[in-house]
Amino acid sequence: MCTNELLHEKFVELDAFIDGLEEKEGSLITVLHKTQELFGYLPKEIQLHVARKLDIPAAKVNGVVTFYSYFTETPRGEFIINVCMGTACFVRGAEELLKEIQDKLKIKAGQTSTDGKFSIDALRCVGACGLAPVVMVNGKVYGRVKKEQLDDILATCVSENA
C-alpha cells in the first residue's frame, strides 16, 4: 500500500517535470535521466508511460534506453561498486581488482547479486587518475586501492549505511 503511494508520487513528480519542460522536442534523454533518478531504473511499463506522455512511439523510447549504457532496464543493487577501467587505472592494476571483486561477490560486471545488495560496474575514467586504481562505491571514491583492501571497503560501506 505504502509502496504504491510512493510509486504514485513518483509518477506525479515525473509528469510535473515533463509538463514543466520548455521544449518537448528533443527532451527524451533529459526526461529519461529524471525518470531513472526517480525510479532507479527504467522498466518497460515506465518507458511506455514516458512514451505516451511525450507522445512518441514506445519503440523509440526503448531504442534510446538500450543505446545508452547509463540507462538500465533492470534494478540495481543497493551498493553500486564501480571499478574504474580507464586507461590510467588499467595500467595500475584495475583489471585484477575487477576480477577480485567479481570473484568475491560471485557476479560479473553489469550484474546485480541475487539478494539485491551489490551491483558491479566497470566505468571509464572517473577523473581521479592521480589516485589510480580507483574504486567507487555509491559515489564515494577510494583511491590507490589494493586487492587486500577490498573486504574492508565493502564492509565499511555496508556498515556505514546500516
Binding site: V64, F67, A88, C89, L123, G127, G130
Partner: protein
C-alpha cells in the same frame, strides 16, 4: 581579493575531493574563525592544481608555498605555524624525487617550471563557484570588449589569426569553423560545447569545467556573437556530477549579472546556455552523433557532408567546440592573436593540456607549449618513471591513438608530428607505460573499449572490431595461429577504410602501432607462447622452487585441477600439462616457493 593578507587555496578538484579536501576546507575555516582571523585570512576551494598525484593540495598565497598530501588533521599545524607565526610547515612541503630536496616555492617545482598555463590559467587560482573571482581575474572583459568594439567578422578574423586549432581531437582550425558557420545564413544558429570527454584516462575538460567554468561560458558567448547564434548547449557527461554542479552555479550567476541572457552589456546581443547530459556512450563525443543525442535520439553518427556548420542541430548551422578549445578563447582577445600565435610550433599554436597518467611519478594535468618533447613532459615535468622502472612506451590519443617508443622521446609534439610518428594528439591523454606492461594486452584493452562503444551502424566497425578483439584474446591466451599477425593487420586496414565515423576509422590504431613498434612482443606470444612482460595469465608458467619448498601442502590443497603432487615435508611439483594457470598456488604459498614466469 586585496582585503585579506593571506589566502589559503585548497584544491576542490575531483581527485583531491576524493581524498577529503573538503574536510580540510571546513577545518581551516573553523580554526580561522576560532583564532579570530576571519578578517585577515580567506579560505578558497579552487579547481584542480594539476598536481593530483600529491593531493590534496593547499597553497598559501601570497607566500607561494605549496603543501602536498595534506590531511584534515594537518590543519592545526598549518594555522599555528604558517598562518600565525609565518613559519613553513616543512614536513608538508613537496619533496623533489631526483634531488630529495624539499621545495616550498610553487614556481620552483620542476612540475610547474616548464608549464605554461593558458587554458588552465584560473584552475587552482580562483573560486569556481564565485563569479566575482572570475571577473577579478579579467573575466568577461573579452566579451565586453568584443561587444563594444568589434564586428562579428573581426572576431572571426582574430580567431583565424591566432591559429587556434580544436583541442577535442581533430585539430581543425577554430577560426575557419566559425567562418563557415557565420557565412551560412539562418534564422537560428547554435553553439555547442563538447564536454563529453570520452577518452578513458583524460580529464582536462572536466578539470576546466570544475575549476574555471566561466571561461567556457564567456567563450561560448563570443562564439555566438561571431557566428550569429543566440543559443548555446553544453553537452556534458552525466558521470561528472561536480562539473555539472559548478556549471549550473556559473550559468545562474552569469544570468544574474546580465553576462548571459538578453541584451548583454546593452549591446542588443542575446545569448543563453543550457546543459544537456550524455548518457554513457563514447561515440556521442563525435559531433554528428552528439547532435543526434541532443535532439533526443540514439547517438548514431551521420554522414559528413553536410557538416554541422551548414546543417547541425535541428538542421541549423551549428559549431561544436571542445571545452579546452573554448577555455583558450577569452585570453586570445585580451592579449591578442599575435601573442597567442607566438607560442607553440609552426603549425600548432598555443599550448596543450595533457593528462599525464600511468607509470609516471607525477600523475596530473600539465599544460605545455606545443612543440615540447615527450622527454621533457615525462621526465622533467612528470618526474620520470615510477619505482625506478624502465620507460617502455607512451600512449597518446586514447582509443584512437598509438604507442610511441623511446626512439621518439625527443620529437617535438604537435598535431602533425604525432601523426607522423603513428599516433595522434586526440584529446590529450598521455599514458606512460613501463617494462611491466604487455603491449598486446594494452592493444586488447583499447579494442575491448571500442568494441563496447561501437554504435553498430556499420558492419566493419561492429563486426570487425569484435574480430580484432577475439584475435588479440587468442594471442594473449597462446592460442593464435602463425598467420594471425598478418590477419590482424589486414582486418585493421579494412576497418580503417570502410568505417563511417572517426571511431571506427581510428579504432585499429592501437593495434597497428603496437604491431609496428612491438612486433617482437607479438611474436613471442604467438610463436613461443610467452608473454615477455609476464602479464598474460594464460602464458605464465608456474613452478615450485625445490630449495624453498618446505612441503606444507598448502598449494596442493587449493589447486583446482589437483595437479600439484608431493608428500608432506617434501618438495612439491606441478604437473605442467594439467596446470590451468590460475595462480592459486602462488597466493597460497607462504614461503615464496612458487615462481611465476
Amino acid at each position: 581579493m586585496s582585503k585579506y593578507r593571506m589566502h589559503l587555496l585548497v584544491c576542490g578538484g575531483t581527485g583531491c575531493v576524493s581524498s577529503d579536501s573538503m574536510l580540510i576546507v571546513e577545518n581551516l575555516k573553523k580554526q580561522i574563525k576560532a583564532n579570530k582571523l576571519s578578517d585577515e585570512v580567506q579560505v578558497v576551494a579552487t579547481g584542480c592544481f594539476g598536481f593530483c598525484e600529491k593531493g590534496p593540495i593547499v597553497k598559501v598565497h601570497p607566500d607561494n608555498v605549496l603543501y602536498v598530501e595534506v590531511k584534515p588533521d594537518d590543519v592545526t599545524e598549518i594555522i599555528n605555524e604558517h598562518v600565525i607565526k609565518g613559519r613553513k610547515v616543512e614536513r608538508l612541503l613537496y619533496v623533489e624525487p631526483t634531488f630529495e630536496q624539499r621545495i616550498s616555492e610553487h614556481k620552483d617545482m620542476p612540475f610547474y617550471k616548464k608549464q605554461l598555463r593558458i587554458a588552465l590559467r584560473n584552475c587552482g587560482a580562483i573560486d569556481p563557484e564565485n563569479i566575482e573571482e572570475y571577473i577579478a581575474a579579467d573575466g568577461y572583459q573579452a566579451i565586453g570588449k568584443i561587444l563594444s568594439e568589434m564586428t562579428p567578422a573581426q572576431v572571426v578574423d582574430t580567431m583565424k589569426l591566432s591559429g587556434l586549432r580544436g583541442r577535442g581531437g581533430g585539430g581543425f582550425p577554430t577560426g575557419m569553423k566559425w567562418d563557415f558557420a557565420s557565412r551560412n545564413a539562418a534564422d537560428q544558429k547554435y553553439v555547442i560545447c563538447n564536454a563529453d570527454e570520452g577518452d578513458p584516462g583524460a580529464f582536462m575538460d572536466r578539470s576546466i569545467l570544475e575549476g574555471d567554468p566561466h571561461s567556457v561560458l564567456e567563450a561560448m558567448a563570443i562564439a555566438g556573437y561571431a557566428i550569429g547564434a543566440s543559443k548555446g548547449y553544453i553537452y556534458i557527461r552525466a558521470e561528472y556530477p561536480l562539473a555539472v554542479k559548478r556549471l549550473k552555479i556559473a550559468i545562474g550567476q552569469a544570468n544574474e549579472y546580465g553576462l548571459l541572457g538578453k541584451d548583454i552589456f546593452g549591446s542588443g546581443f542575446d545569448f543563453s546556455i543550457e546543459l544537456r547530459y550524455g548518457a554513457g556512450a563514447f561515440v556521442c563525443g563525435e559531433e554528428t552523433s552528439l547532435i543526434q543525442s541532443i535532439e533526443g535520439n540514439r547517438g548514431e553518427p551521420t554522414n559528413k557532408p553536410p557538416f554541422p556548420a551548414e546543417k547541425g542541430l535541428w538542421n541549423k548551422p551549428t559549431i561544436v567546440n571542445n571545452v579546452e578549445t573554448l577555455a583558450n578563447i577569452p585570453v586570445i582577445f585580451l592579449k591578442g592573436a599575435e601573442w597567442f600565435s607566438s607560442i607553440g610550433s609552426a603549425k600548432s599554436k598555443g599550448t596543450k593540456v595533457f593528462a599525464l597518467a600511468g607509470k609516471v611519478n607525477n600523475v596530473g594535468l600539465v599544460e605545455v607549449p606545443m612543440g615540447m618533447t615527450l622527454r621533457e613532459i615525462i621526465f622533467d615535468i612528470g618526474g620520470g618513471i615510477k619505482d625506478g622502472k624502465k620507460f617502455k612506451s607512451v600512449q597518446t590519443g586514447g582509443p584512437s591513438g598509438g604507442c610511441i617508443t623511446a626512439a621518439n622521446l625527443d620529437t617535438p609534439i604537435d598535431y602533425d608530428n604525432l601523426i607522423a610518428i603513428g599516433s595522434m594528439m586526440g584529446s590529450g591523454g598521455m599514458i606512460v607505460m613501463d617494462e611491466d606492461d604487455c603491449m598486446v594486452n594494452i592493444a586488447k584493452f583499447y579494442l575491448e573499449f571500442t568494441m563496447d562503444e561501437s554504435c553498430g551502424k556499420c558492419t566493419a566497425c561492429r563486426i570487425g572490431n569484435k574480430r580484432l578483439y577475439e584475435m588479440l584474446t587468442r594471442i594473449t591466451e597462446g592460442k593464435a595461429t602463425p598467420d594471425c599477425l598478418d590477419e590482424l593487420k589486414e582486418l585493421s586496414m579494412i576497418i580503417k577504410d570502410t568505417a563511417l565515423c572517426g571511431l571506427g576509422q581510428t579504432s585499429p590504431n592501437p593495434v597497428l602501432s603496437t604491431l609496428t613498434h612491438f612486433y617482437d612482443e607479438y611474436k613471442a606470444h604467438v610463436f613461443e607462447k610467452r608473454c615477455p612482460a609476464g602479464v598474460c595469465q594464460a602464458l605464465s608458467v608456474y613452478t615450485i622452487i625445490e630449495d624453498k619448498c618446505i612441503g606444507c601442502t598448502a598449494c596442493a590443497r587449493v589447486c583446482p585441477p589437483k595437479c600439484i603432487s608431493g608428500s608432506v615435508k617434501k618438495p612439491h611439483v606441478i604437473n605442467q600439462d594439467k596446470c590451468i594457470k590460475c595462480g592459486a598456488c602462488l597466493k597460497a604459498c607462504a614461503f615464496d616457493a612458487v615462481d611465476k614466469k
